[in-house]
Symmetry: C2
Subunit: 330 residues, 2 copies
C-alpha cells in the first residue's frame, strides 16, 4: 500500500523545488523545460492535488452548500440537478443539506457548512427563519436566498409569487368561477405565503371572499379537502399552490369517486412530467427553474470571487401560465 504522491515527491523526481511544482499546478509561469519534467513526474507518480490541503492553506474549499427543504420534490430535484451541473462547470462541488422545514435542522445545516468552510451557500430557508441569524451563522460567507426571501441586504432570486398567483386566480375568474378556493400545505412557507397574498388580492379585486384550504401534513390536507369538497358552500374552482398540493387534490377527487366531468376546475403551481397526462390535463403555472438557478449561481460566484461587491439585489422572475384543460379552457 504505497502512499499517494505529494508535491514534494513530484518535485524530487522532476529535480525542482516544491514551490515550482505548486506554481506549475496553478498555471503560474514556469520555465518550459521544468514544466515538461514536472508534467512527466506527475504522470509517472499518478500525482493528484489534495484539495483538503489546499483548502486549509488558502481558505477556500471550492465547495458550495445548498440548504433546501427536501431533495425528493420535483421542483428542488430539478434545481439541484441544474445547480450541480453549473457548479461542476465552475470546478466546484455541491453539498446538499435538507432541513425538512424544521428550524433546528436548518441550524445544524448552517453549522455544518461553517465547519466545512463552504465558500458560499444557496438557501431555501425554513419557515420562521430570521435573516440575521443566518447571516450570523455564516460570517463572511456569500449567501443567496433561492425561492425564498431573507432580507433586503441578502441576494435573492425568486418567482414573482404574488403576481403568479394573481394571474392564476384571475384566469379562473375569467372563466366565470367565483367561489375559488386556494389549497396549500404549510402556509407559513415563504413562497406559499406570497402566493396566498396574490390569490387574496385577486379575489378582493372582485369583492369575493377568499377561502384557504390547508393543513400541516398532506394526509390531513386530503381529509380537509374531502370535507370542503362535499360541503354545502363548496368551491367551484381551485388554485393549488404546489405540485404536492395538486397531487393531493387529485387524489381526493379520486377517493370521492368524482368523474373527470364532475371535477372542479383547477390550476396548479409547477409543471411536471405527468401534468398533461391526468384527466383533464392540468393547467399549471410554470416556474423558470433554469433561469432561477442561473441567476442564483451567477450572483453567488460573483460574490465569492469578490469581483462584484455591488449592491445586494433581489431578482424576481415571472411565472408562465401553461393552459391545458383543467382550468376550463378547451
Amino acid at each position: 500500500m504505497k502512499k499517494r504522491a505529494t508535491v514534494i515527491d513530484v518535485a524530487a523526481l522532476a529535480g525542482v523545488g516544491a514551490s515550482t511544482v505548486s506554481r506549475y499546478l496553478r498555471d503560474v509561469r514556469v520555465k518550459p523545460a521544468a514544466a515538461k519534467r514536472i508534467r512527466e513526474a506527475v504522470e509517472t507518480l499518478g500525482y493528484e492535488l489534495d484539495e483538503t490541503a489546499r483548502a486549509l492553506r488558502i481558505g477556500r474549499t471550492r465547495t458550495i452548500g445548498v440548504i433546501l427543504p427536501k431533495i425528493s420534490n420535483v421542483f428542488f430535484s430539478q434545481a439541484m440537478q441544474l445547480i450541480e451541473e453549473d457548479a461542476r462547470q465552475r470546478g466546484c462541488t455541491v453539498i446538499p443539506l435538507t432541513h425538512q422545514d424544521r428550524m433546528s435542522q436548518q441550524q445544524d445545516n448552517l453549522a455544518k457548512l461553517r465547519r466545512f468552510r463552504a465558500d458560499g451557500v444557496i438557501i431555501t430557508s425554513a419557515p420562521g427563519t430570521v435573516a440575521a441569524e443566518v447571516q450570523a451563522a455564516l460570517p463572511h460567507v456569500p449567501i443567496v436566498a433561492f425561492d425564498s426571501f431573507l432580507a433586503s441586504d441578502i441576494d435573492s432570486v425568486l418567482l414573482r409569487n404574488r403576481e403568479a398567483a394573481r394571474m392564476g386566480t384571475e384566469h379562473l375568474l375569467g372563466h366565470g368561477y367565483k367561489n375559488i378556493a386556494c389549497v396549500t400545505g404549510k402556509p407559513e412557507i415563504y413562497s406559499f405565503k406570497e402566493r396566498i397574498t396574490g390569490y387574496k388580492e385577486a379575489m378582493a379585486s372582485r369583492h369575493l371572499t377568499p377561502t384557504i384550504i390547508t393543513a400541516q401534513d398532506y394526509d390531513q390536507l386530503r381529509f380537509v379537502l374531502g370535507v370542503a369538497l362535499q360541503g354545502k358552500k363548496r368551491p367551484t374552482a381551485l388554485l393549488s399552490l404546489s405540485d404536492f398540493a395538486t397531487l393531493n387534490v387529485l387524489m381526493t377527487f379520486r377517493e370521492l369517486g368524482l368523474k373527470p366531468a364532475d371535477r372542479l376546475p383547477i390550476i396548479g403551481f409547477d409543471d411536471f412530467g405527468f401534468a398533461p397526462l391526468v384527466d383533464p390535463p392540468l393547467t399549471v403555472i410554470r416556474q423558470p427553474i433554469d433561469t432561477m438557478v442561473h441567476y442564483a449561481l451567477n450572483m453567488l460566484f460573483s460574490r465569492i470571487e469578490g469581483s462584484g461587491s455591488k449592491e445586494p439585489q433581489s431578482i424576481s422572475l415571472p411565472g408562465e401560465l401553461i393552459c391545458r384543460r383543467s382550468c376550463g379552457c378547451s
Copy 2:
C-alpha cells in the same frame, strides 16, 4: 473582521494545552474542571472546529461521494434524499455528482472525489463502465454500487431486476396478453439490460417472441412508439422499464388520441406520486428505495470504519407489484 478562533485560542483562554482542547472536542476523557473551562472558552470565542484542517490531519473527510446519472429523476431524487438523511445522522456530508450516462463525465467525477478525499462512494455507474477502472480511480476508498453492478469483489445493492421484469411480464401473460412489447430508453444501462433479460425469459417460457421498443433519446422513443402502436403487428400489452419510459408511453397514447378504453394494458417500473392518477391507474413494480439505501450505507460505513472487512457482498431486493388497473386487473 476578526479571524475565527482556533484550538490554540481556546486553549489559551481556558489555560490548558491545545491537545487537551482537541481531546475535549473528540470526547476523550478530560478532567471535569478543565472540560468546564474549555466549554466556556469555546462559548465566548464562538469557536468552531475546522473540518478541512482535521481532514488534512487525520486523512478522513467525513464526506461521501454519490455518483449517479441524474438527480432530477424520481428514483434518484428519492434515493438522494434518503442518502442525505442517513449520512447526516452519521455526521457525514454528501457530494452528489452526476454523469448523465456519459463515461467521460463519470471519470471526471471519480477524479474529483479523489482530489476531495471522499471517504467512500456510492455509484450508479454509467453504461460501459469497467469495474477495474473505477477501482483504480479510487484506491483504498470503499465503493458500493447502487442500482448497478460493477464486479463480484465490489459491494452492491440492487433490485432483483430480472425477477421483477419476469414477474411483470408474467402478470400480463396471466391476463391472456401474448404480444407483449418491452419499452425502454437506453437499453445499455445495467438495470434496463437485466430487466430486458427477465422480460425475454418470461416470453421464452411461453414460446413467444419478444419485442423491444427502444431509442436513444425520449423524443425519438415517442416517435418509435407511435409507429409501433399503429403498425399491423402492434403489441397487445406493454412492459415499461422506467418511469420516464412510462411517461413517454402515456404521452404517445395521448398524441394518438387513444381513449382510456383503447389504451394498451401496461405495467411500469417505479411507483411515483401520479401513478394512481393517470387513466387507467397505473400498475407498477415498486423498488424498495429506502431499504436499498439503507443497505448501501450500512455496507459503505462498515467498510469505512474498517470494522467489517468481510467478504464483498451483493444484496438484491425484490420488487413489489402494485396492482392498479392499467394491467387489466379490475
